[in-house]
């Protein structure tokens, strides 16, 4: 069930046609999908305060309804260690088109996965798990299941990746936290079932998975172009 708070996020994003990152992360957090600690600052001094509260190192990203693919616009600064660097990131990113604020977020590390959803014409809500990051379309290592997912679906999705050995602890590396990844996928699948009339697709990319935890480092929710009421023709 979508809460009032979730519905408000969705309706506020209708005009842009998609839910920008901080709002998308709020929505995910409300649905018990893990996200890093983050804050949004409209002013430079705010941004510095946010960074201190979160604790260095932090990531800074431009919030803009006009920028869908952030890395292609240079809208992300990672590894910020001090106040000065926050200020310079703010000044640099505020020049980007449609800038409405700076998202300041804790640095998370881990293997980069993509978790996604799309509303398929024939099968309805479908969930994707793949190797993520900026190389997602190069590796094309992904597996799909019809939602809602069951726990055994998640296990077979992970096992179905070509790179599954990387997740299970390759050559002495610690395995990623599979229960945390499973919980993330199950909670996400539930959210997608609730959102199915309102969305076209969702990319959670990257989802960073380490031995400790799996969290959504970036998120983008593409909304349907029409109201759900008029969707059936």
């Amino acid at each position: 069930m979508l809460s009032q708070e979730m519905l408000e996020i969705l309706s506020a994003s209708k005009r842009a046609g998609w839910v920008v990152e901080p709002e998308a992360k709020k929505l995910l957090a409300l649905a018990r999908v893990a996200v890093p600690r983050f804050k949004v600052a409209a002013q430079e001094e705010d941004a510095v305060r946010c960074a201190r509260e979160i604790g260095y190192p932090v990531v800074a990203k431009a919030v803009s309804p006009k920028i869908v693919h952030k890395s292609e616009h240079g809208a992300v600064v990672v590894g910020i260690q001090a106040d000065e660097a926050v200020r310079s990131a703010f000044q640099h990113l505020r020049k980007l088109p449609g800038f409405t604020g700076l998202l300041v977020e804790e640095m998370v590390s881990g293997i980069e996965l993509i978790v996604g959803a799309k509303i398929d014409y024939q099968f309805g809500p479908v969930i994707l798990l793949g190797m993520g990051g900026t190389g997602v379309e190069i590796y094309k290592d992904a597996t799909l299941r019809m939602a809602p997912l069951k726990e055994k679906d998640v296990a077979s999705m992970i096992g179905g990746l070509k790179a599954h050995a990387l997740l299970e602890g390759y050559r002495g590396a610690e395995p990623v936290n599979l229960p945390s990844l499973t919980q993330l996928l199950l909670a996400f699948s539930e959210l997608v079932m609730d959102l199915q009339d309102r969305i076209e697709s969702i990319d959670l990319n990257p989802v960073k998975c380490s031995a400790e935890t799996c969290v959504v480092a970036d998120a983008r929710i593409m909304l349907v172009s029409r109201d759900p009421e008029s969707a059936e023709t």
Binding site: K118, Q122, V126, G160
Partner: protein, 455 residues
């Protein structure tokens, strides 16, 4: 929807026969059923008259008894009106052969037809289809009788969006000795869809395996189809066409780009334990195998052969499919070794493939099969039988089948399909053990059972 009258008609009308052109599709359908099937057939044409001395009725309502099945082969514009007449006459169901509906831009005409059918609960298949073939009962395919290849009566039902593919598969089923319970060409599937037929076939007592040729499902129809198939005690096989992406569409999300239509389709079939046949060869092998063994396996294969080369090729084919060929445990090898014929005891290689060599005799094959049938190492046996080995007799197929009947572990066999070896092949097939004409085919038969395993 009640399909009993539609698929097991006692009486039938062919609407749209020509009085002047005996090669008209409706005439082909009329004569074929009139002359060769038990169903009572009435020709219908508004002008009346007669066909080879049989009265032609101007309207379906003029026929003196209740009609179970109406085959409608008139011009598209006339179909809605004719359908209304059928409803008024209390006809049980229809097959609309005529084209000229949604496929040529006349969605409006098709919608009218569906509205009539829905309102009156009149099940019809098509339009733009061949209708149905029900062995020893009825055949509405407008293929001249002398060129029709009919599979035997058997357990495979096939539903196809394409009539041409269906007819072609029937030829292949006939060639491989795969028997059919029902074949339905659904064409534009305006009213009766895959899901309706899946539900019917799940409970149809003569159907053991349900096969589909699908180009695409309607909106959200795939979802209910796989959910229903998952509940089916009978194996469901789907051959999907239209696998390549239709041009480079601009997609704004990585998910949409990575999850193309076919990838989604294919992975969801596997998730729900629907066996996807990737091509027509797989479809035939899968139907043959699953009508003998309507079950799923993990896919651990034991290979028994009289030739090392055949064994090696089978291992390659298994590995291409993702089937395992596990090295057999010491105790299994020991059990085989100690009872083998003395002449092969030291030369047979038993790791898996179990290569009994060209000097093996019937008893050695029976022994190896019995031991593997009891072993937990494997859940299916691929038997590569070379009928020209001097120590093997033509009775071996039947003897190995006895092992299957006793132990219940699936055996799929390869025997070259030539007349000379017919008796060997029959020994298997009469006992419901499938025999492939190639090593590939035998491996595909094992793969069929693995693909029924939901993942």
């Amino acid at each position: 929807m009640d399909f009993t009258k539609l698929f097991e008609p006692k009486t039938m009308a062919v609407i749209g026969v020509s009085l002047t052109n005996d090669r008209h599709p409706a005439n082909v359908i009329y004569y074929k059923n009139h002359l060769r099937y038990p169903v009572k057939v009435y020709p219908v044409n508004p002008h009346g008259g007669d066909l080879q001395g049989e009265e032609v009725y101007p309207h379906i309502g003029d026929i003196p008894e209740k009609v179970d099945l109406a085959v409608i082969a008139v011009r598209a514009e006339q179909v809605p009106g004719i359908t209304e007449e059928c409803v008024r006459a209390g006809v049980g169901g229809g097959a609309v052969i005529s084209g000229g509906f949604a496929e040529t831009g006349r969605k409006d005409l098709q919608d009218r037809l569906v509205a009539i059918a829905r309102e009156s609960g009149f099940p019809f298949i098509g339009p733009n289809c061949l209708g149905l073939y029900s062995p020893k009962c009825v055949d509405t395919f407008f293929i001249p009788n002398e060129r029709t290849v009919r599979p035997n009566q058997g357990g495979v039902a096939m539903v196809s969006q394409s009539g041409g593919v269906l007819v072609d598969q029937m030829v292949k089923f006939a060639l491989e000795g795969v028997g059919m319970s029902l074949a339905v060409s659904i064409g534009n599937k305006a009213f009766v869809k895959e899901l309706d037929l899946l539900r019917y076939l799940i409970v149809d007592p003569s159907t053991k395996v349900i096969a589909f040729y699908v180009e695409g499902f309607g909106k959200n129809e795939g979802r209910e189809f796989v959910q229903t198939a998952r509940q089916s005690p009978k194996p469901v096989i789907v051959l999907k066409a239209g696998k390549s992406p239709g041009g480079a569409m601009a997609v704004s999300s990585h998910t949409a780009s990575l999850g193309g239509d076919y990838k989604v389709f294919s992975e969801i079939l596997a998730q729900f334990g629907v066996a996807e046949a990737r091509n027509e060869f797989e479809l035939v092998s899968f139907c043959e195998s699953l009508s003998c063994y309507p079950r799923s396996i993990e896919g651990n294969i034991g290979i028994i052969t009289g030739s090392g080369g055949h064994g090696a090729m089978a291992v390659d084919l298994c590995s291409n499919q993702g089937l395992q060929v596990p090295f057999l445990s010491e105790s299994v090898r020991q059990q085989i070794r100690e009872k083998l014929s003395p002449s092969i005891q030291s030369i047979a290689s038993l790791g898996n493939p179990v290569d009994l060599t060209g000097s093996a005799v019937d008893d050695d094959f029976v022994l190896a099969t019995s031991v593997l049938s009891k072993a937990a190492d494997v859940d299916c046996i691929v038997m590569l039988l070379l009928p020209y080995l001097p120590g093997c007799t033509m009775d071996l197929g039947a003897r190995l089948s006895q092992v299957y009947r006793r132990e219940g572990k699936p055996i799929v066999a390869y025997v070259p399909h030539v007349e000379r070896y017919r008796m060997l092949i029959e020994g298997f097939e009469l006992n419901n053990v499938p025999v492939a004409p190639s090593i590939d085919g035998a491996v595909l038969m094992a793969e069929a059972m693995r693909r029924c395993q939901p993942c």
